[in-house]
Amino acid sequence: MNTEKNIKTLIVKKPLKLDCGKTINNFPIAYETYGSLNSNKDNAILVFHALTGDQFVTGINPVTKKEGWWSYAVGPDKAIDTNKYFVICSNVIGGCMGSYGPSHKDPENQNIFGTNFPVITINDMVNAQYNLLEHFGIDKLFSVTGGSMGGMQVLQFISNFPDKSKTVVPIATTSSHSAQNIAFNELGRQAITADSDWKDGNYTSNNTNPGKGLAVARMAAHITYLSKKGLQEKFGRKLQEREDLKFGFDADFQIESYLRYQGSVFVDRFDANSYLYITRAMDYFDLAKQFKGNLSDAFTKTKAKFFIISFTSDWLYPTQENKDIVIALNSIGADVGFVEIESDKGHDSFLLDVPNFLNALKNFLDKSYEEN
């Protein structure tokens, strides 16, 4: 699934030492851009994608033929206005949309990596993507932003490269994966590895695909992206194309049918091993731990302007976890704004048409850009 010709790729020649101790070099980073870089090169926004996102932020994704994952937020005249800003997004390493990942071949033996791919971290992802700045000759980004795992990368980015972005917008995220977050990710990984078609990660060479396991992983995760209220309002106990219960195990309820559909379409576009690797990277994320337990120390070197956004019904990365980042920033006198957006759409709110969110994001970016 990474051989499509619509994928732009940067080959990173420089060796990158990973947190696990291994070093990779000559590895591809697949990226996409929207809008154009101005002559001062000061209008670039680096967008980081979430667990199952990719570099195709907006418009029609040329691989899946579906709308890009952040089409509500990014585009001409939208919150991240591509008439004004140059948006760059790349597929994380470990991913499956062209960047170096477990479906690539190991240069040492030409076998597909599978679980021999090194375990990567959010820090590794960010360090790999930093190469894009050099590629485009950008000294300083106007902004870094992203939701969920994208937000984790935002935090790691500004910690690693404190003077490389003017503004920083982490959305619906956390500075440290909670036990509950890890638990849900483990559920997904167990679903994948329990699928007999997973073959210890060597499904490609065995001509199998652990689609059932991956679908279950997606179904479980999908529930965590929605709120109880949102689910109840959308589905309630409505039945799926039937008048009454069938006293069997088909999808009687619309919610069952919906989840099955979500699982099945996900399998078509995502790689099971990538799911293992990326969820692992999220679980390992603990920014405070990188600074001996003091989160503030991650940000002492930056003068960037932060704007943090959370959503009322997000129970996966709840407001308090976002506020903890605000508190860490305030305690060192950093320039930080914060708003919690009212929404019953759960964690997924940042991907959806939530006008108060999109307005806040647009206003923050545009006003900050005017002050440039």
Binding site: K305, F307, V326, I327, N330, S331, I332, G333, D335, V336, G337, F338, V339, E340, I341, E342, N356, N359, A360, N363, F364, K367, S368, E370, E371
Partner: protein, 198 residues
């Protein structure tokens, strides 16, 4: 911009770092930022007001002064402003202590319950006073701890808080409050403005 904000702005020197607690739609913040080059932050409880501030390009944190002031380090602002909100907190004393911990100085404004119109309203109508600075009915007012200029003056003194300036506002009239005239000011000012430090 209302006279109260002009008086507050006059108390703050250029280029300072200021926190506006309960900054509402950011009118004062915007004025201070644009006219006095103030490094300004706001804390506001209303989501709608926070959005208005963001639309003005202001740095605001959605939060509650009673819970969220504690995240700011000691003396991290030159001034902390609290406009007509002290009486609305569950624990005004705690908030006042926090303002003076976080700011080198604090500017606190008090809607005066000793204002003659308030007194007359209660005396002659026998119902809870409603005035320009106290516009709500008793059942929907956010105000929990109303006080007079005199109350606040004595309260601050009893806590050994230094008063640098105390001003009485009556519409567009601004005058200084002192020990000698406080009885009169407490009658004729509808708003008190205090610049204090601990």
């Amino acid at each position: 911009m209302k006279n109260e904000f002009k008086v507050i702005a006059d108390l703050i020197e250029k280029d300072k770092k200021v926190l506006d607690v309960g900054c509402a739609d950011g009118t004062l913040m915007k004025f201070l930022k644009d006219n006095k080059n103030i490094n300004i932050r706001g804390l506001e409880i209303s989501k709608e007001k926070v959005q208005e501030c963001i639309a003005k390009g202001l740095t605001v944190i959605e939060g509650n002064a009673e819970k969220d002031l504690k995240q700011f380090p000691d003396k991290s602002f030159d001034y902390v402003v609290l406009s007509q909100t002290l009486q609305a907190f569950l624990n005004p004393e705690l908030v006042l202590d926090e303002l003076l911990r976080v700011g080198e100085k604090a500017i606190v404004t008090i809607p005066n319950f000793g204002y003659w119109k308030v007194r007359f309203h209660l005396l002659f109508k026998g119902t809870m006073p409603i005035t320009k600075t106290l516009p709500d009915e008793w059942y929907n007012t956010p105000n929990l701890h109303m006080c007079t200029i005199k109350d606040f003056f004595h309260f601050v003194k009893s806590k050994n808080i230094k008063i640098f300036r105390s001003l009485a506002l009556n519409n567009l009239d601004t005058s200084t409050i002192n020990e000698g005239n406080i009885g009169v000011k407490n009658m004729f000012a509808d708003l008190g403005i205090f610049l204090i430090e601990k």
